[in-house]
């Protein structure tokens, strides 16, 4: 009886249906003594690569299948062999992509290599006629077994026993029903019987299941027979590369070699010995590995835009640099090609390219058009439940009102997982003093069990998969809401299945640089060549970077990074000799993952503090980064140096650290690391300390080539900010900004000495524009102004010249009244008509529209427009906030002048002079970041600004706990606390918070 195999099993990859992850199912099956297990998720192979891994880890032989459900028809399909797998993928793709999909028809076409198991006569009967091969009738307890058995006898087809396993225990039914209610957008009491699993749809041991089949023991035997004929030694490890223009391998390599040589000559002027040797080495590996096609495909895509940023480890490749895929010189900056490609590496390389965010869709369209939907598709994101969504969806099922749900969920971080959320609601200070009633307790209890359950697919932000032949052979393809083809796997599983992903990502800063360069060319006639541009040759740029005045600059604008730069370069003498670019690379790497203690240590060492590596063996590896592991590849190198890992093993460790599902394997590597170190007689506590340092980078660290690529873009942004601040800040805001809101950038512009000019019907363009010392607000800032109206306005102005007055505007532009009203209230006509005439203009508009709409009678006299009194100041400011989303004419703190004069706060630009003392400050919220201290207690870093400068404030756990419920972005703060100075940077540790009345 132990030969029985569960052939119909749903995991959490059955969207809106399955409860348990594949790992749990495999463990449970193994505990029951099963030796094989089939995974048949609904309408997809969403979790197959993970299932194969989990099954093997549990010692089970995996069988690949799916339950196809379309309209009234349903069938379980199991792949007998590779052909069957291909057909299964094709059938599931059609199921998702064709609106006229009919399961019996599709099965007739794709039945080769598949076992078809169902109790639907309408599916079986037409297939039975040509041949009964591979057809079985499904007998499941609780699902009309007698009817199914009668069908088997009538069609003379063998019956097969399944338990339609969705649950592991009866208690899972509650969660399953909630999942169904979420998926069907209904409530528990409205779920119909056919819409959910029943409490007998449990993964049952053969011993238990056989009790249901005393009348038909052959059904159990047939399950074993089917499983015996299904392939279980699936191997997805072979990499599937795209093919470039149908070239043969050798031809592709020849093309690549030629283009790399041309590129090298373009980049370096001539090919010297170093370059030639490096090119030769890289090309040899590329040839051996057969990656030539891949490089050519990526190059073709990258060529779609003149400004790209090839990121990731690919930036270490000279070939990629010569082909124009990346822009950092790997020889000059000492970037190791081995991190990207090495002879031992078995998995495919990964090249990610950033494009300006508004050009990305066009690039994707190009790629999909070039390779066609049958060969290319996007990688998916598998959307499950995170903390907030889980709570929200379960609460909705239980009928809690939206306002009540929002009041809880708005305090939950979007990054928390479902089980973290449940804990947080009980202990987080934001929820202090609120006893959760019974309903919420139940919601929380269920929500914390929602973890990996798949809800639906969405598009990965840029992952593109291209194969040489037919994509639907390898993986089922769906159509996204945007109409793009998307595979059923997310990037980890796609990679595990050998599909090579090319990431085509959107980057706002590349668009900022493009727009700013264009504005500079227009305003000054200066044309800068993007490819040969060396921003760090400029003294002003270097000064700006060293001072950390980098708000608006790509990747180094966050408060934490600005502070880090200030700390690093505050001591000019000690750091004068430091290579700025190298240190920028380090800064942009260390800021991401490291705990504060590492950063503090790093800055101290950089500023001259003596240091030693944790072990002399690490000296060579960590010398360039002051003895602290900063880059991803240093993990590999540390493991190699200390524990004698091979390059491949070290690389595997690095990869596991950056993956999501890592718990089990990581433990193995830890053992291996400790054992390797012990063998070299390294003290155990040193090993433990090094391991802890490695772990602190888990999942977040960058490799050096990637950081170098980013740092180059950062430097280019900084150059523009230092030399053309108006054009640069205009481009930053026009492209949607980065870390901060437009208001914060405008304040920064004022601090840079720029004049912020209000929107003007004749002078403003759609985006913000900058020239000289002026920054003009763009019409895009007017909230609610339609895109069509804006285009019409600009077209009319371009064709007929500037508007003379409001009447001229009304005569020439036929725009909806609501849009014109917005223009008036935003002050666009103030220059032509004067601010005091705004209400009169509104009356004029109403009169004009009344006449145009035929409202006036034939002989009626035209209505005299009343002469309305001017708005008071308060109304003007209110309209500014309403129309532009912020105060533009003055800083909001200036509205509280009288109160400020009484309070006499310390100005932010003098904060450093007050180090070590208690002060009172006034600030306007700019941005904040909640983190956890080492004990897991929440705290927050907040940046405020007053009219003189930005300043950073720390709410340590005690202050945070006391004041977190009061924090808002719309009131001026009164802050009291102690000024702390570290490495020349002063911050305020808040102890009391109030508001300026």
């Amino acid at each position: 009886m132990t030969d029985f195999v569960a052939l119909h099993v749903h995991s959490s990859f059955s969207p809106g249906w399955g409860v348990h992850g594949v790992e749990e199912l495999c463990a449970a099956a193994r505990a029951m003594g099963l030796r094989r297990l089939a995974l048949t998720d609904r309408n997809g192979l969403y979790g197959i690569p993970r299932f194969l891994e989990a099954a093997r880890a549990a010692g089970l032989a995996p069988i690949i299948g799916a339950e196809a459900l379309a309209g009234e028809h349903r069938a379980v399909l199991l792949a007998r062999d590779a052909e069957g797998y291909g057909n299964l993928c094709r059938l599931l793709s059609e199921l998702h992509c064709r609106s006229d999909f009919d399961l019996p028809t599709a099965l007739a076409r794709y039945r080769r290599g598949l076992f078809i198991i169902t109790d639907h006569a309408a599916v079986l009967a037409p297939l039975r006629r040509p041949s009964p091969e591979g057809l079985f009738v499904e007998l499941s307890p609780g699902h009309g077994m007698h009817r199914a058995l009668a069908l088997a006898r009538q069609l003379r087809l063998p019956p097969v026993a399944t338990s339609r396993a969705t649950l592991l225990t009866e208690q899972d039914l509650d969660l399953h029903r909630v999942l169904r209610a979420v998926a069907l957008n209904t409530k528990l009491s409205r779920l119909k019987p056919g819409e959910t699993a029943t409490d007998v749809d449990i993964l049952q041991s053969p011993e238990k299941l056989i009790h249901h089949f005393p009348h038909c023991p052959e059904a159990m035997e047939n399950a074993a027979r089917i499983a015996g004929q299904c392939r279980t030694d699936w191997d997805f490890s072979a990499t599937i590369f795209p093919a470039f223009r149908g070239l043969a391998e050798e031809e592709a390599f020849a093309v690549l070699q030629r283009r790399a040589d041309d590129g090298a000559r373009r980049r370096y002027g001539r090919i010297d010995a170093t370059v030639a040797a490096r090119l030769h080495k890289e090309l040899a590996i590329i040839r051996d590995k057969g990656f030539a096609h891949y490089f050519l495909v990526v190059e073709e895509i990258a060529r779609q835009s003149p400004r790209t940023c090839g990121r990731g480890s690919a930036a270490a490749s000279l070939v990629a640099y010569c082909l124009g895929i990346t822009h950092v010189d790997p020889i000059r900056h000492n970037l190791f090609f081995e991190r990207f490609l090495n002879p031992g590496r078995v998995d495919p390389p990964d090249i990610d390219i950033d494009f300006p965010w508004d050009e990305r869709d066009a690039v994707l369209d190009f790629a999909l058009a070039r390779y066609g939907a049958h060969r290319a598709a996007m990688v998916a994101n598998q959307v499950g439940f995170k903390g907030r969504a889980a709570l929200r969806e379960v609460a909705k099922v239980f009928g809690l009102p939206e306002a009540e749900i929002r009041a809880v969920t708005e305090r939950i971080s979007g990054y928390w997982k479902a089980d973290q959320t449940a804990g947080a609601v009980r202990t987080h200070p934001l929820f202090r003093g609120e006893a959760l009633n019974e309903d919420w307790q139940r919601v929380l209890h269920l929500a914390q069990r929602l973890r990996g359950q798949l809800r639906h697919l969405s598009l990965h932000c840029g992952g593109l998969v291209v194969v040489p032949d037919e994509l639907r052979r390898y993986v089922p393809v769906e159509v996204s809401a945007k109409g793009l083809p998307v595979i059923q796997w997310e990037k980890e599983q796609a990679e595990a299945a050998g599909l090579v992903k090319i990431d085509i990502l959107g980057n706002r800063s590349l668009a900022v640089i493009r727009d700013a360069l264009e504005a500079v060319r227009k305003n000054t006639g200066r044309d800068i060549d993007y490819a040969s541009w060396q921003p760090l040759d400029d003294a002003a740029t270097r000064k700006l970077l060293r001072a950390g005045e980098t708000m608006g600059c790509f990747y180094i604008e966050s408060p934490a990074t600005r502070q880090l730069l200030k700390r690093m370069f505050d001591d000019e003498e000690a750091t004068a000799g430091a290579d700025l670019f190298e240190h920028l690379i380090m800064a942009s790497s260390i800021i991401r993952p490291a705990a504060n203690t590492f950063i503090r240590e790093f800055v101290a060492r950089m500023r001259g503090q003596s240091w030693n590596c944790l072990h002399p063996l690490l000296d060579e590896v960590l010398a360039e980064t002051y003895g602290i592991a900063i880059y991803q590849e240093q993990i590999t190198q540390v493991a190699m140096a200390l524990a004698d890992f091979s390059a491949f093993e070290g690389d595997q460790l690095r990869k596991i650290l950056s993956k999501k599902h890592k718990e089990k394997k990581l433990a193995d590597y830890r053992q291996m690391f400790l054992a390797g170190g012990k063998a070299k007689e390294i003290p155990e506590d040193t090993l433990a300390e090094v391991w802890a340092q490695i772990l602190s980078f888990a999942g977040y660290s960058f490799c050096k080539p990637h950081s170098a690529s980013y740092a180059l873009v950062s430097c280019k942004s900084a150059w523009l900010k230092a030399n053309y601040p108006a054009e640069f800040m205009a481009a930053v805001i026009a492209n949607g900004g980065g870390y901060y809101a437009p208001f914060a950038y405008l304040s920064e512009a004022r601090r840079l000495g720029l004049r912020v000019l209000p929107p003007d019907i004749n002078a403003s363009d759609a985006p913000y524009t900058g020239q000289g010392h002026n920054l003009r607000v763009g019409l895009m800032q007017i909230q609610g102004l339609g895109r069509q109206a804006l285009d019409l306005l600009l077209r009319t102005r371009r064709e007929g010249g500037p508007f003379v007055d409001f009447r001229d505007f009304l005569r020439r532009v036929r725009m909806a009244s609501a849009d014109v009203m917005l223009l008036i209230k935003a002050g666009c006509f103030d220059v032509l008509e004067g601010r005091e005439r705004r209400p009169t203009l509104l009356w004029q508009l109403l009169a004009d529209r009344h006449d145009c709409d035929g409202g006036g009678l034939l002989f009626a006299e035209p209505v005299a427009v009343p002469d309305a009194p001017a708005y008071d100041n308060e109304t003007i400011l209110r309209q500014e906030r309403e129309c532009l989303g912020m105060l533009l004419s003055c800083h909001p703190l200036l509205l509280h002048r009288r109160e400020l004069a009484r309070l006499k706060p310390v100005p932010a630009n003098q904060l450093r002079q007050w180090a070590g003392r208690y002060v009172t400050m006034v600030g306007w919220w700019v941005t904040g970041k909640t983190v956890q201290d080492k004990d897991g207690r929440p705290m927050e870093f907040v940046s405020f600004e007053d009219t003189t400068a930005l300043f950073d404030v720390t709410f340590f756990p005690r202050a945070y706990e006391r004041f977190c419920r009061q924090l808002t972005r719309h009131r001026p703060y009164l802050l009291k606390g102690k000024v702390e100075e570290e490495f020349g940077v002063a911050t305020l540790n808040v102890e009391w918070v109030g508001f300026v009345a």
Binding site: N185, T186, K187, L188, S189, R190, K396, V397, F398, G399, L400, P401, E402, A403, E404, A407, E434, N437, M821, K825, P839, L842, W843, L846, A847, H850, G855, V863, A864, V865, P866, A868, P869, A870, Y871, T875
Partner: protein, 393 residues
């Protein structure tokens, strides 16, 4: 003839009624909020609470933070209905021409009763006094020549009392007041149009011509202009009795479980059916009002092909209507069932049979229903119920 229109307004009526039965609530901040949720929205706020910055529509948890001493009361629809009836009875002593406007507000037309009741302001003072004496309620009374101005006058006073507007000076009285006092100028119109056009006071609206006002307000302009000039010719209309009956229920705890909701609906049907049969009427139309916990109210109507007064067919129709109307997942806090298009049942007697003789046997269902009704008459509604009116475990 000069009109004498009174408008009686009792601020925060629900709270005023609660204070009658519980004097401890007086002079303390009180608000009415449904349910026991921290996030329920306040429906009614006392003046003391308002002074603390609390207003209608605020969530309970926020209100508590503003005013920790706030006392919260649940809504009492029955008490409100009783209070409103008492108010009408009291006002009815002065004039039969009375029109209930909103909870705690009514219009009274005393035109032509000057010889009987004295001048309008005297009658108003008496009304206010009797209100305090008989019902122990305090309210303000506005007296003017029309409904519009009397209503504004009643709201003008900060303390309870009588505000009498000299006939002919209505326009001057309302002129300096903010435009929001005019009916029809809600938050949206006030903010979007009148504030943008810088029309802040009633006199500024009155100063414009109708043609100018029409530019901004369209067809509403003549009416608003008339109102801004203090003119309101509308009569005081006593409520018309509509031929319908209805029952409503508030659940002990808001719920979205159909079995609980259908049980509540069944009890409503039983009550309605019993009242129909007592009146000897049958209904051809059911209207179900669903009151959701988030304040949304939805209504569904079903027309019955045949008139009914028995529980079972009514229940079948009501359940079908419920499943069709209740499409949201949000919990319901209350249900109301109205029976309209009432018809008299077949009461035609047999022409040739002696009156007291036994009539032809009624159908079984009707007999059963009669038996049930008799049992319930004797032992109460709870003695015998349909199983489905009981909530599950």
């Amino acid at each position: 003839m000069e009109r004498d229109i009174l408008h009686l307004a009792i601020p925060a009526f629900a709270i005023a009624l609660a204070r009658v039965s519980d004097p401890d609530l007086r002079r303390r901040p009180v608000a009415v909020a449904p349910g026991n949720s921290e996030r329920a929205l306040l429906q009614c706020v006392s003046a003391e609470a308002r002074a603390e910055g609390i207003c209608e529509g605020m969530a309970v948890y926020r209100a508590r933070r503003c005013c920790p001493a706030l006392i919260l009361l649940p809504p009492e629809p029955r008490q409100m209905a009783r209070g409103m009836r008492a108010l009408q009875e009291l006002a009815g002593r002065f004039s039969p021409l009375l029109e209930p406007a909103a909870p705690g507000r009514l219009f009274l037309d005393l035109t032509g009763s000057r010889r009987l009741l004295g001048p309008g302001r005297d009658a108003a003072a008496r009304l206010e006094r009797e209100l305090g004496r008989d019902l122990r309620l305090a309210g303000s009374v506005g007296v003017a020549g029309n409904k519009l101005v009397s209503r504004i006058a009643a709201g003008y006073l900060e303390q309870p009392g009588v505000c009498d507007i000299l006939r002919g000076s209505e326009r001057h009285f309302i002129g300096p007041l903010p435009v929001a006092v005019l009916p029809g100028v809600g938050p949206a119109r006030s903010r979007q149009l009148l504030q943008d056009l810088n029309l802040r006071r009633v006199e500024e609206v009155a100063a414009l011509s109708v043609a100018q006002l029409r530019l901004a307000l369209g067809p509403f302009a003549p009416l608003l202009h008339q109102r801004a000039c203090g003119i309101d010719p509308s009569p005081v209309r006593p409520p018309q009795r509509a031929p319908c009956l209805g029952e409503e229920t508030y659940l002990t705890a808001a719920d979205n479980d159909d079995s609980a909701l259908l049980a509540a609906l069944c009890r409503l049907v039983e009550d309605c059916g019993r009242r129909l049969r007592r009146l000897g009427r049958q209904t051809r139309q059911l209207t179900l009002t669903l009151m959701y916990a988030d304040g949304v109210t939805e209504r569904g109507t079903a027309r019955l092909p045949l008139p009914h007064d028995l529980d079972l067919p009514l229940l079948a129709a009501a359940e079908e209507l419920f499943l069709k109307s209740c499409r949201r997942r949000v919990r319901l806090k209350g249900l109301r069932l109205d029976c309209a298009r009432l018809e008299s049942g077949p009461r035609q007697l047999d022409l040739f049979t002696a009156a007291p003789a036994a009539p032809a046997a009624p159908p079984v269902a009707a007999t059963l229903q009669q038996a049930l009704d008799r049992l319930r008459e004797r032992y109460g509604m709870g003695a015998l119920r349909w199983g489905r009116s009981l909530e599950g475990p």
